[in-house]
Amino acid sequence: MKRFLLPFLLIGMAGVAQAQQPAATVIAVPPLTSPDGGNRGNEMLAVGWDATQLIVSDLRQTAELMPLQPNRDDYYSYPEVTAPTFSKWRSKGAKALVTGFVQSRSDGRLTVGCYVYDVEKGRELARKGFVIAPTDWRRAAHKCSGLAYTAITGAPGIFDTRIAYVAETGFGEARTKRIAVMDSDGTNHRYITAGDAIALTPRLAPNATQLAYVSYAGGKPNVRIVDLGSKQERPLIPTDAISFAPRYSPDGSRIVFSMMQGANSDIYIVGANGGLPQRLTTAPGVDTDPSFSPDGSRIVFESDRGGSQQLYVMNADGSGQRRISFSGGWYASPEWSPDGEWIVFTQRSTAGRRIGIIKPDGSGERMLTNGPGDEGPSWAPSSREILFQRADVAGRSGLYRVALEGSEPRPVTLPQSGSDPDWSGVMD
């Protein structure tokens, strides 16, 4: 009885805390089953149970879905995966259902099948199969969570994605700043750079196999590319000039970045594998923090050409530059949302630094956080929440998540202090 009551209780509490937020969709997650028999079948059922629990954990983190607590006794037979008993789940309050199977293959790999249903209408919403190495069951479960999330909400799921950030340890002269990467649920945490040189602003390539970042290894800040598998590094371009603020184009083929020439910082674009940089801005002063629109046609950036830092949008070839922020204060570090609807930014004023959003045409501006030590916002691939950096009163920096609807930011658990977060897109 308890397991039926608990989800409803949680929904009720969430409703009080955020009255304007729509109620979450209750989703049943019957354990993944297996067509295999004997010992092999038991092994597959064990993998399926682990995957089921991970799916529930994934979906519980979202604002939109509320998974029922899974029960090992609810195993379906293999044929029932494609013909679930909707009436049973309706009576438990579920409006959606996700389940599937794990099957062993003769080549030692596993097939994971995933099915999503509308319980009220009694029809299938989506299905997807994955062939994976047995050690990759977590990724398959994340994919299954993403399939359910997308089928129900229409937005990309955040489950099989990566977060890169700067891991900070020590203080003063002993402080180290190095690049770390982890899965968005905090697992598979690993350090990419050694920590012997200050590392800043990691920006993942769309396929998350490499990232661009700023390194002080050569004595002055310079954009470098590091392969996440081999950890091999190279400078983005062979230059002695200060270069910084890199970001990939949506197709991963190009990188926009800032480079100093004399006392002037302008925005340049270059192939991700190198080549001759093309200059996109020429205004005196600081043009920096460029970020592509998801279709690659436009770039948002910050510039102090008008006397104070403001947001500007231009075409990807540098033409048509125009200011979009006019509400007072200073605007910095913009990032275009994956769905193209919003631009997130850091606003700086005498009250400190806060995170806000604005439409690409300059309308609809509103603040999402109160600061005073917030900066470095990065969109979740769902375009529904934002990861950012917040300094506490002691000056220690951590990562937080805040929903677009507005809510109290939630801290992200890290092994140490962190800054400069970057959330990858959904990987195929």
Binding site: G219, K220, P221, I242, S258, A332, R348
Partner: protein, 150 residues
């Protein structure tokens, strides 16, 4: 107007100097006949500071424009550098700690570059002065520029 600061310090040698290691003696790069006698890096720094009227140059808050006091210090530093053409210096600029990461980095670079331009205007060879920026990566040194003798 609130003043912010550019500090100018010295170091000798190449990489050892950047690591702030105390060197009892140095072997200067052979450039010109009037090389200083063998000195400790700290002695050279002290001499630079004393004869330049300080190692710190001040900017207005959020500003990259050199004020009159800043130009006075830089002029004294230029005079010292003219007497020591064998000494190569690096100007390290710092942004404001309340700024955002990349803008602070750019502002630090601009401050360092403005200081360098003024030294060049006063006749210091370009090859004798390089620049870099620490942005807001060294909070204790926010709003400063450090010149390292290399």
């Amino acid at each position: 107007m609130r003043k912010t600061m550019i500090a100018v310090a010295l170091a000798l040698g190449t990489t050892a100097a950047q690591a702030q290691i105390h060197l009892p003696t140095i072997i200067p790069l052979s450039r010109g006949p009037q090389q200083p006698a063998l000195q400790g890096i700290d002695a050279l720094r002290a001499e630079f500071a004393a004869q330049s009227g300080g190692t710190t140059v001040y900017f207005g808050s959020e500003s990259v424009i050199l004020g009159a006091p800043a130009r006075t210090v830089l002029a004294a530093q230029a005079a010292w550098l003219r007497r020591h053409p064998e000494i190569v210096v690096r100007i390290e600029g710092y942004g404001d700690t309340g700024d955002t990461r990349d803008h602070a980095l750019a502002v630090g670079a601009r401050r360092a570059e403005e200081a360098r331009s003024y030294l060049l205007l006063l006749g210091i060879p370009a090859a004798q002065v390089s620049t870099t920026s620490w942005g807001k990566e060294r909070p204790g040194l926010g709003r400063t520029v450090t010149v390292l003798v290399r």
